[in-house]
Amino acid sequence: MNAPLPTNGLVPARAQPILRFENLTLGYNRHPAVHHLRGEVAAGSLLAIVGPNGAGKSTLLKAIAGELRPLQGRIELNGLERRQIAYLTQSTTLDSSFPMVVHDFVAMGLWREIGAFSGLSRTQRGNIEHALGVVGLAGLENRAIGTLSGGQLQRALFARVLLQDSPLVLLDEPFGAIDAASVRDLATLVRRWHSEGRTVIAVLHDLEHVRQEYPETLLLAREVVARGDTASVLSEENLLRARRLAEGRGDDAHAPVCHAVGNVE
C-alpha cells in the first residue's frame, strides 16, 4: 500500500532529521501532558501519531507548530521556519459564515508568495485551479464557503494546505467527521505529499487506516509507549499498555510518570 516512493527512499536513521525533540515536556498551566519526549523525525517521513484521548497528541502538534511553549526541553526545526509549517488543526478558527467564496479562501494558502498586497499571477491562478481539482472541488470556485458540506470544507482546507507548498505538514485528526469518499480522496493527497518528499505528521484515530497508509507510528499516552514501524508499534500489548497509562491518569495527574523515558532510535 504505502509503497516506498521516490524521495522517500530514506531510512529514517540516515535521513536528515527535519525535527528533533530534546527532552520535551509539554503541558498547560504547569500540568504536564507529554513527558520527556526525545528523538527525531526524518525528513520525508509519513508519521502517524496515535493514542487514547488525552494522550497529548494534539498538544504535540501544537508545540511543533510553535503555538505552545514547552515546559521543558525543546523542539529543533532543521532547515525550515515555523511559518513554513502547514498546520491543519482539529477545530479551525475559520468562521464559515464569513462571506467568502471557495476560490478566495483556498488562495490564502499562497500567502507566503502574495502576502498582504500582491495580486495573483497567471501561474498562481493556475495553481489554485489545480489545487481545487486535486481535492475534487473543481466547479465550486464561486460557492460561498458557508454553503459547503463538512467533507467539502475539509477538502477546501486541504487545498489551502496544498497551496502552502510546505515541507512539513501537520494534520490533526483530518478525517474526523467526514464522508468515506472525502477520506479516500484526501488520503490519496497525503500519499502524494509523501511521495513528493514532504514530511507529514498526522494525528489519527482509525488504526486500520494507519496500518494501511502510514509506514511509521508514534504511540503516545502522555509519554512515548512505542515508536517505529507501524505494524510492530500497533501490537496488542502496546495498545493495552497505552490504554492503562491513559486510565491511570487521574492518580498521577500531579505525579508525572517520569521514569519511562521516551524511546528512540
Partner: protein, 293 residues
C-alpha cells in the same frame, strides 16, 4: 438654476441652510469611514464589542470636558485614550481570567457609562450631557468637520492598504497568526481604526448612537450580498441613503437629527430583513413557492 433646485424638497434644506450642509458633510464622512469598519465589526461578531467601546469613549471625553469644557481637542484626545485603553483591557481580562469576553465588555460598558455621566454632571448642565450622549450633528463646526474628514481619510486609506489582512484576520485569525508576522498589526490596527471612527461618530451622533451608523448599514447590506467587496460598497451606500434621509426627516417633521438618522438606518435594516434575498423571511417565502410548484 439654484432657485429651481431649491424648489425641490429633497435639496432645498441643504441649499438654504448651512447647518444642514454641514450635517450632510458629517454624515458623508461617517458613512465612508465608519461604515466599512462596521462591516468588519459585524463579520468578526464584535457588534456588541463595538457598542461597549463606544460607551468606553465617554469617560475619556468627559475628563477632557472637565478640564477644558466642550473643547474638541480635549474631548477627542480623552476619547481616543479611553477607547484604546478599554479595547486592550477588555481583551486582556477575557484572555487571562475566567471572565468571558461578553461579560468583560458589559462590565467595562457599565463602568464607563456611569463614570462618564458622573464626571460630566460634576461640571456641566444637562444640555451638555445630552450633547455628549446624543451628539450634535446639526451643530458641527469647521474644526469638528475637519476632524471627521481627517479620521475618515485615514480610515479609508488604512482599510484600502490592509484590506486583505483585515479580511483574513476576521475570517480565520489563527491561520493568519500562523502564516504572517503582520497578524498583531492587523488586530491592533483594526481596533485603532475602530476607536478613531467611534470618536468621530461620538462628535456627530453621541456616545449612545455612534455605533448605529456602523452596524445597521452593515447588517442591512449583509442580507443582500455574500461577498466582501460588494458588501462594503452596499453598506456605504445604505449608510449614505439612510443618513441623508434621516436628516431630511428630522428637518421636515422637526425631530432630533441623531435619532432620526439611526431610525432611518434601522428602517432600511428592517426592510432588508423583510425582502433581502438572504433574509429568513425571503428564503422561507421562496421555499414554499418551490414546494408549491
Amino acid at each position: 438654476m439654484i432657485e429651481a433646485l431649491s424648489d425641490m424638497p429633497l435639496l432645498s434644506p441643504f441649499i438654504e441652510f448651512g447647518f444642514m450642509r454641514r450635517a450632510l458633510a458629517g454624515c458623508l464622512a461617517l458613512s465612508l469611514g465608519a461604515t466599512p469598519i462596521g462591516v468588519f465589526l459585524m463579520l468578526r461578531r464584535m457588534s456588541l464589542a463595538g457598542d461597549a467601546m463606544s460607551h468606553a469613549i465617554l469617560p475619556g471625553a468627559a475628563v477632557g470636558y472637565l478640564l477644558a469644557g466642550l473643547s474638541l481637542p480635549a474631548m477627542t484626545i480623552g476619547g481616543l485614550i479611553a477607547g484604546l485603553a478599554v479595547a486592550v483591557m477588555a481583551g486582556g481580562v477575557a484572555r487571562n481570567t475566567v471572565i468571558r469576553e461578553d461579560t468583560s465588555l458589559a462590565t467595562f460598558y457599565l463602568l464607563s457609562l456611569s463614570a462618564g455621566v458622573l464626571i460630566i454632571s460634576l461640571r456641566g448642565s444637562s444640555v451638555d450631557l445630552l450633547h455628549v450622549l446624543f451628539g450634535s450633528v446639526l451643530a458641527l463646526d469647521d474644526a469638528t468637520l475637519l476632524l471627521l474628514a481627517g479620521f475618515t481619510s485615514l480610515s479609508v486609506v488604512a482599510l484600502a492598504i490592509g484590506l486583505r489582512l483585515f479580511v483574513l484576520e476576521s475570517c480565520d485569525p489563527a491561520f493568519l497568526a500562523r502564516i504572517s508576522r503582520l497578524a498583531p498589526l492587523a488586530h491592533y490596527g483594526f481596533l485603532t481604526l475602530l476607536v478613531i471612527n467611534l470618536v468621530a461618530g461620538f462628535h456627530a451622533l453621541g456616545t449612545l448612537m455612534a455605533v448605529g451608523i456602523m452596524i445597521l448599514p452593515a447588517a442591512a447590506a449583509r442580507l443582500w450580498v455574500c461577498s466582501i467587496g460588494p458588501l462594503l460598497l452596499l453598506a456605504v451606500f445604505t449608510a449614505l441613503l439612510g443618513s441623508t434621509s434621516g436628516l431630511l426627516l428630522s428637518y421636515y417633521i422637526n425631530v432630533p437629527a441623531g435619532p432620526a438618522i439611526v431610525l432611518t438606518l434601522g428602517a432600511l435594516y428592517l426592510l432588508s430583513l423583510a425582502i433581502g434575498p438572504l433574509a429568513p423571511l425571503a428564503s422561507r417565502w421562496r421555499t414554499s413557492w418551490h414546494f408549491e410548484r
